[in-house]
């Protein structure tokens, strides 16, 4: 149990930090990946043109979230199955 408590505390600290920052600043919470684009613009003086475009982009933010959650769900399913299967196996029928 000790480990679980330590992890819970770490997550709580993280949450508190997030609540504090989001209430005291007007941070936008955009992706860090996108911010790199701004730095590239600055470094090159806005002259850089991407050499390629994504072949398909999610039509909206909602659909993007859908695909992200689908990704997480697939992962969670597999992990849940694994632990459930072996836990069940260990117990006598």
């Amino acid at each position: 149990m000790k480990l679980e408590i330590i992890v819970a505390v770490i997550v709580l600290i993280f949450t508190a930090q997030f609540l504090y920052i989001s209430s005291t600043t007007d941070a936008e919470y955009g992706g860090a990946d996108g911010e790199a684009e701004g730095v590239i613009d600055e470094l090159t003086g806005g002259t850089y043109e991407p050499i390629a475009d994504p072949i398909w982009e999610p039509p909206s933010g909602e659909i993007e979230s859908l695909l992200f959650s689908l990704q997480a769900a697939i992962g969670a399913l597999v992990i849940g199955y694994y632990f459930g299967y072996y836990r069940g196996k260990k117990q006598p029928a």
Partner: protein
């Protein structure tokens, strides 16, 4: 840590492809061996892959007011080694490049290098060094996974800095600019990733500890010690 589609000019994207490709090929070769000879390890391989799937989909808000996500490659690296982790990372990066416009096909080589190769190599080396030094197993896992996560983002910053050196100050100045975005955002996420991976390991030990010995992650003696401590 994804470098967006088109944001690495030639010759850099070709260079990163050239570096990543041999590792991927070696990884697929090793993976084949695993599938043929050690079928009982496959469920755990699925868990390692699924873990990367989950963690890299979680875009968490962080201290600097921007979002980023953990990588989850530490688990696979400790269990199966960096080469197989690179293949698992490639699968996730392909999913995100094709369906989410996150990362991209031209930058795939660079992204595979930072997330699939550099991170896992760091995790693997730190884990081995810590176990040699006789550190507690869980602390070793925590350090390996946190630092691997950070390393991924540091390497991404290096990749971008090499491709976009600043006019004054060159590569180093741009590295600082990219690192402030990526690496600092990543510190709290790296700590969380480390902590959660430790929990996963705890549960693997609870339900199926023999695979860890088979994978050379733990020795028989080490495993018994951990079990005594937790029960």
């Amino acid at each position: 840590m994804h470098i967006m589609e088109g944001f690495l000019p030639g010759p850099w994207w070709q260079i990163w492809f050239a570096i990543s490709l041999p590792v991927i090929i070696y990884g697929i070769y090793k993976l084949n061996g695993l599938i043929k000879n050690k079928r009982d390890l496959l469920p755990l391989l699925a868990v390692a892959g699924a873990y990367i799937f989950i963690l890299s989909s979680l875009k968490l808000p962080s201290v600097t007011g921007s979002c980023s996500h953990p990588t989850g490659t530490g688990l696979a690296a400790i269990l199966f080694g960096p080469a197989i982790s690179a293949v698992l990372g490639l699968i996730v990066l392909l999913y995100q490049a094709l369906f989410l416009a996150h990362g991209g096909l031209t930058t795939l080589g660079a992204n595979v290098f930072s997330m699939g190769i550099a991170g896992p190599v760091v995790a693997f080396l730190i884990y081995k060094a810590c176990t040699k030094a006789g550190l507690n197993f869980y602390i070793a896992v925590f350090l390996a996974c946190s630092l691997a996560d950070l390393a991924t983002y540091v390497v991404t910053s290096i990749e971008l800095a090499l491709a976009f050196p600043a006019q004054t100050g060159g590569v180093l100045t741009s590295f600082k600019a990219f690192a402030t975005i990526f690496a600092i955002t990543q510190v709290p996420l790296a700590i969380i990733e480390g902590a959660i991976t430790v929990l996963i390991f705890k549960y693997v030990i609870q339900v199926k500890s023999d695979v860890l010995v088979k994978l050379d992650v733990l020795s028989e003696v080490g495993l018994r010690k951990i079990k005594e401590l937790t029960t």
